[in-house]
């Protein structure tokens, strides 16, 4: 879902070049994975996390050889614009004390951003202190929104999302080693030629530039 704008933009030149319409379906990775499992007529699947790609892989629904880790992302701590407080992202910082109120992120059991956030917080030893104050949201946009509205004092979201909002400040970045790497794997679902071409297209520089503009990290294969 975080890919909505970027992908829409990237699809345009592809359509122009290959004269094939690209049909994009944006939904939660889980929903998409299940649709594909049930035979959705998809050519390419791009997931916001590895687990749903693994899931489909396990069911033999994707072309394992075509799987690539397309993009990466960073986890950041945000606060409403101008309402931030100084944070040092390391184990010695008493985050629980600095945090007066609630923290929002994706649901920590299931929504990818939440899972990463919990890992990071645990890694930093902050989890125990904030556990009861974590507001799980349906997706990363909702978490961002709550912070924008000032409903939550801080939030943990992807950098891509945080950067596009003018109403929040990034007050901290979680080191890459504090959580499982955030990757966006992509793979072909059908062996069709169009699928191959589209996957190819995604990995070209022209696409890469657009991704980068939205704050994604391009991953070397």
């Amino acid at each position: 879902a975080s890919l909505t704008n970027a992908l829409t933009e990237i699809a345009k030149p592809f359509e122009a070049k290959h004269k094939t319409p690209v049909r994009l379906s944006f939904a939660a990775s889980s929903a998409l994975a299940k649709q594909i499992e049930q035979g959705a007529p998809a050519d390419v699947f791009i997931s916001a996390d590895t687990q749903w790609m693994d899931y489909l892989d396990g069911k033999g629904k994707i072309d394992r050889a075509s799987r690539v880790n397309l993009l990466g992302n960073t986890l950041v701590l945000i606060a409403p614009k101008g309402k931030g407080f100084p944070v040092r992202v390391d184990k010695n910082f008493d985050f629980a004390k600095a945090l007066k109120d609630k923290l929002c992120t994706g649901v920590v059991e299931s929504v990818p951003v939440g899972i990463y956030a919990k890992e990071a917080l645990t890694h930093l030893g902050w989890w125990g202190g904030v556990k009861g104050r974590v507001v799980g949201t349906e997706d990363v946009r909702a978490a961002l929104n709550l912070v924008e509205r000032g409903e939550c004092e801080v939030g943990i979201v992807y950098e891509t999302d945080a950067r596009q909002s003018k109403k929040v400040d990034i007050i901290g970045r979680f080191p890459d080693d504090s959580h499982t790497p955030i990757v966006y794997p992509a793979a072909r679902v059908t062996p069709s030629e169009d699928a191959r071409k589209f996957l190819e297209h995604l990995r070209q520089d022209s696409a890469g530039k657009i991704f980068a503009r939205y704050g994604f990290k391009r991953l070397a294969e």
Partner: protein, 229 residues
């Protein structure tokens, strides 16, 4: 005024909602009548099954539809291979998702209205030579008209706003299954799109308004027809 995407979403939403209401009206009326007038074994079970889609999160309902009616689902495969009909990932699937979600509203409204009809009017019709079918269509149904209107408007509204089951069952494909709520969702997934999101919300409201005012007129007419005002 509206962008082509907005038009397409609005048009799709209306199409899905109208088809949804049209599709559930007949079975809803029938079931509502059965529940209001007949005592049968397993009635409570039927009730419960009908209401199930209301009780479960829409996503779950959508998932169950996917399991049943997806190309690999037991029913879907049969439909697909046997009849060449495929509902998954098409607007027809969106109609099905909406229909399942709205069905309990239709059934309940019809049942309520029918249970409040004076049964002696039906008896009077039968002594005038009207068989069960004519009684049903010329007496029961018109007298339950306010219930049908209520059921239709609730279903229409529910269907206009249906999101969870639809996106889970048929995905979010522009021009095919991206109804107003899904388009709205798509915007909310990207930052800085408050303005188009708001536009879509307003379009939804306008569509709803128009439908509700139409229904209000229908409702009032149905009520007046019975009271003679």
């Amino acid at each position: 005024m509206l962008t082509p995407e907005e038009w397409s979403a609005l048009w799709l939403s209306l199409k899905v909602s109208v088809w949804c209401v049209a599709a559930i009206l007949p079975p809803g009326v029938l079931l509502g009548w059965l529940l209001a007038r007949k005592q049968f074994y397993g009635k409570a079970l039927v009730e419960a099954v009908v209401h199930l889609p209301m009780v479960l999160p829409p996503v779950v309902t959508g998932y169950m539809l996917l399991l049943a009616l997806g190309r690999n689902g037991w029913l879907g495969r049969w439909l697909h291979e046997g009849l060449g009909v495929s509902v998954a990932f098409s607007w027809k699937g969106a109609v099905i998702a909406s229909a399942v979600m709205s069905f309990p509203l239709m059934v309940r409204a019809v049942r309520l209205a029918m249970s409040l009809i004076e049964p002696r009017l039906e008896q009077a019709a039968s002594t005038l030579g009207a068989g069960p079918l004519r009684v049903f269509f010329s007496i029961t149904l018109p007298l339950a008209a306010p219930g049908l209107v209520t059921g239709a408007i609730l279903s229409f509204a529910r269907s206009l706003g249906e999101f969870g089951a639809t996106i889970t069952f048929v995905g979010n494909i522009e021009g095919e299954t991206r109804t107003l709520p899904l388009a709205l969702y798509t915007y909310t997934q990207t930052p800085g799109t408050e303005e188009p999101a708001l536009r879509l919300a307003l379009i939804s409201m306008a569509a709803a308004f128009a439908a509700l005012i139409g229904s209000e007129i229908l409702t009032r007419r149905a009520e007046q027809r019975l009271s003679g005002d």
